[in-house]
């Protein structure tokens, strides 16, 4: 049986680490992505057979400059949680962002993501958003 890195059963439809995407903190506001309705339950599509995940998120405002940071946080969280065979696509909800195509393209360009994750400032920001919040 497939196990996620958190040891929960991957074949269960709403398993914990994917659920925890919702706990990621928004980079600009002191709330989680779920509280801001940036990411919802339906927004995460998992195909265990094909080893494929697609996440659709809705930035807080149409011109949200943090869209690429949020997307990067989602990708890093999944990278750290899922077995390496998973293919991940991240996108903004259709119609939710002024530069939808351009944001989606950046978020799914593996080379651009790899270079971004070598930038210490960006990594700090991502780690900040992914850190568990207490209280």
């Amino acid at each position: 049986m497939d196990r996620c890195k958190c040891n929960s059963d991957l074949s269960s439809p709403k398993h914990c680490n994917i659920e925890r995407l919702r706990d990621i903190k928004d980079p600009e506001h002191p709330y989680s992505l779920e509280e801001l309705k940036v990411i919802t339950e339906d927004a995460i599509e998992v195909d265990d057979v094909q080893s494929y995940v697609r996440v659709t998120f809705t930035p807080t405002v149409e011109h949200c400059s943090m869209a690429t940071i949020i997307g990067l946080c989602l990708r890093v969280k999944l990278l750290r949680s899922l077995p390496s065979r998973y293919k991940v696509d991240i996108r903004v909800a259709p119609g939710s962002h002024a530069s939808e195509a351009s944001v989606n393209k950046q978020l799914n360009d593996k080379e651009r993501v790899a270079a971004a994750l070598e930038n210490p400032n960006l990594v700090d920001m991502v780690d900040e958003c992914l850190a568990p919040s207490y209280g």
């Binding site: 390496s84 065979r85 293919k87 393209k105 360009d109 593996k110 080379e111 790899a114 270079a115 070598e118």
Partner: protein, 354 residues
Amino acid sequence: MELYEGGCELKLLETLAGHSDRVWSLAWNPATVAAGTPLVFASCSGDKTVRIWENTPSHSASWTCKAVLEDTHTRTVRSCAWSPSGKLLATASFDATTAIWENVGGDYECVSTLEGHENEVKSVSWNASGTLLATCGRDKSVWIWEVQPGNEFECVSVLQGHTQDVKMVQWHPSTDVLFSCSYDNTIKVWAGDDDDWQCVQTLGEPNSGHSSTVWALSFNAGGDKMVTCSDDLTLKIWETDNIQMHSGDGYAPWRHLCTLTGYHDRSIFSVHWSSEDIIASGAADDAIRFFVENRDGLVDGPTYKLLLKKEKAHDMDINSIQWSPGEKRLLASASDDGTIKIWELASLCMENGH
């Protein structure tokens, strides 16, 4: 030996581990075949190092890592290329530099560092005579460097034109015409001499070009055809007029020949055209595919067909696939899984009674 669909297989000869991060690219040393010395290739990685691998057929593990080039690049090494003489290796890095290494009695020394790009350098290529080097990167520019005596490199041109990140540069196999492909979905052709270089053609959507990032390009041996691969899930074949190209003008326009669509379902990162006209592709679905010209059709102009698909060739995305120089149908693939695999494309022998 003729290869036909269903009549060949891809045999895994060896899996090479060593890099501690994804392997982005690999390059075969072109000089070893003529010299009769063992095959050598270089690989480069997110672990900031370059590894040199050599074939030693007398041992049971026939490929060994002869050198690790480290403590030079401070970020991912994205691409590497040998000079035509095989004596120098250029390595392009996200640290915005290109390093030039020389093999000095088995040890590799960094003899020069090319600076100038504003950010990540993504590709490097030598021209056929080894007199020019080209680099490109996320700063949208393509740089041409002249090789001078004493391992000195002088930048002779900084080419602007692409509107986005440039993913790969590749010199034409027999003329000093440079090709680049980009996140802006186009392929650009650059021609000139000394310090006067211009973009002479752009292959974009109006010319039946790609509709998303173009990751790589590769020429056939004759240099009159080229294949490009893209995030749009297609391979495109382009052709030019060889006679016009080798005439005094030195440049002839390229036109779209055909598009291979429906074969890939995730980004195609690498493509390589073999000396026997077999096109190999490496993609983000972990598979290797081979295409050959379709001779059976009654269509105008050549079409291409799938010869073989090897699923799960690696456990993760394939970033680079390269045929070895020489006669055997050997190829190497590099992956996000941190390994390099050596393969042989072999005919299936069918004998009576077996």
